[in-house]
């Protein structure tokens, strides 16, 4: 009998080996799951402008450059900084009292700006279509008169010089480096419908009005916030259609 069983696996021991292998695999699966769960989540929010990213935080005026959006050439508006500063001095920013607050309703694709409970302006916007616009409470941390934004890939690639009136916002979950902003858009006119790669697009005239009103009060072509000059609160809510 002993001889006969030599070289052949006993059915019971085969089953036991299989069960052991299964248990070990399950253990490995759970260990991997634990490691995945412990990984930080912040890396999942990619930069809004995947190519230009932090370069977009710098002032960049390129009046002779050609832009590209939806595989189409677009001509950016020319920006004259000298006349801009004169305009700013005339316009001023005072509108009333109370804290300034910008609300972006993704469902309605609408922006409203309040000082206290007084409505300052209302405008159609275009939020994320190819990449979602993050929701939550944010604050503007830098205002840039114009910059270049580039990103996307394939048919959705874009490269846009002279993006006007840019107001970058952030919070703890969506850090400054992710480059989400409110800004003017000259390459499309489909406001009221999602059309961006995560930013909040506005008509240039609306973006200018908001830029001149929002804190920090504009002091130059690029304005940073500091502990004494906080940026206006931005609340983004709802769900894009």
């Amino acid at each position: 009998v002993k001889k006969k069983s030599q070289g052949k696996l006993h059915p019971k021991s085969t089953l036991r080996t299989l069960i052991r292998a299964f248990l070990r695999l399950t253990a490995v699966f759970f260990v991997v799951t634990i490691i995945y769960a412990l990984l930080p989540t912040k890396h999942q929010i990619i930069c809004a402008n995947t190519i230009s990213c932090t370069e977009s935080f710098k002032l960049k005026i390129e009046n002779n450059a050609i832009g590209m959006f939806q595989n189409k050439k677009v001509i950016p508006p020319k920006i004259d900084l000298t006349s801009d500063m004169t305009k700013l001095a005339v316009l001023g920013t005072a509108t009333g009292s109370g804290e300034k607050h910008i609300y972006v309703d993704l469902t309605k694709q609408k922006l409203t700006a309040y000082q206290g409970s007084v409505l300052y302006m209302e405008a159609d916007v275009s939020t994320g279509k190819w990449h979602p616009t993050p929701t939550g409470d944010f604050r503007i941390w830098i205002k840039n008169r114009a910059t270049r934004m580039a990103g996307g890939e394939g048919a959705d690639a874009y490269d846009l010089p002279n993006v006007p009136f840019v107001m970058f916002f952030y919070n703890n979950e969506v850090p400054q480096a992710t480059g989400f902003s409110l800004h003017g858009a000259y390459w499309h006119n489909n406001f009221g419908h999602p059309m961006s790669h995560g930013c909040v697009n506005m008509r240039i005239t609306d973006a200018e009005k908001l830029y001149n009103w929002a804190d920090p009060a504009t002091t130059g072509y690029t304005t940073y916030t500091d502990s004494e000059h906080l940026g206006t609160k931005v609340t983004i809510f709802g769900e894009a259609p």
Binding site: T41, Y186, H188
Partner: protein
């Protein structure tokens, strides 16, 4: 005996690891959903005060500013007893001059609207909406002196579309995706939805993979 003990240990390890991973995963999901959940909003944002609708006067002016703010598209509507007259013109801010685009007198059952996204991003074209008892038409007009179609400065998107896609009907034309591309939303006879771009220079339609509804 040792093998049995090892198996029991392994089973306990798997059980504990399973519980820990479930707890961690649910915590992670909660954090992620909190990151993208809607924040609390004051009442005035969610339910703004309704503005009373004024009684329309017999002459109404509707305006839409060009993207750069330098020009204004003006639609003047004069309501008569049995017909309505429309005139469309462009007002240039810098020179304070007005250029007439076209005029039309229509029966009461026909009316025109200026969509908020009328202007093309480069201000070379505009589109307007016409509603009749039979159909809704969207016209693209050139704001320059360039002719768009057979020596006229306008194109009816509906006419071109129904000729090329008889099984689809236009539900909305929302605005401009680029200086010469208009977003056209449609639905099929079977209830499906498809968005197109209307390419103005060629008067052609480009079906889109993404819906723009």
């Amino acid at each position: 005996m040792i093998t049995v003990r090892r198996e029991i240990e392994l089973l306990i390890f798997i059980f504990v690891a399973g519980i820990i991973s479930m707890v961690l995963l649910s915590h992670k999901n909660a954090t992620m959903s909190a990151q993208f959940s809607s924040p609390k909003l004051p009442n005035f944002v969610m339910s703004p005060l309704a503005t009373p609708t004024p009684t329309p006067p017999s002459t109404q002016n509707t305006t839409v500013m060009s993207p750069d703010g330098s020009e204004t598209l003006v639609m003047k509507k004069q309501v008569g007893q049995k017909s309505t007259s429309y005139s469309f013109s462009i007002l240039t801010k810098a020179t304070n001059t007005e250029k007439s685009l076209f005029m039309k007198t229509t029966p009461d059952t026909q009316n025109y609207e200026l969509p908020a996204n009328s202007w093309s991003p480069d201000s070379r074209f505009i589109f307007i909406k016409e509603t009749t008892l039979q159909a809704t038409n969207y016209y693209v007009l050139s704001t320059t002196d360039d002719s768009l179609n057979m020596d006229t400065n306008q194109v009816n998107i509906q006419t071109y579309f129904s000729g090329k896609y008889p099984n689809y009907s236009i539900t909305d034309v929302t605005g401009w995706a680029a200086p010469d591309l208009i977003v056209v939303n449609t639905k099929t006879d079977t209830g499906g939805f498809l968005s197109f771009w209307f390419y103005v220079p060629n008067k052609s339609f480009i079906p889109l993979g993404t819906q723009f509804h």
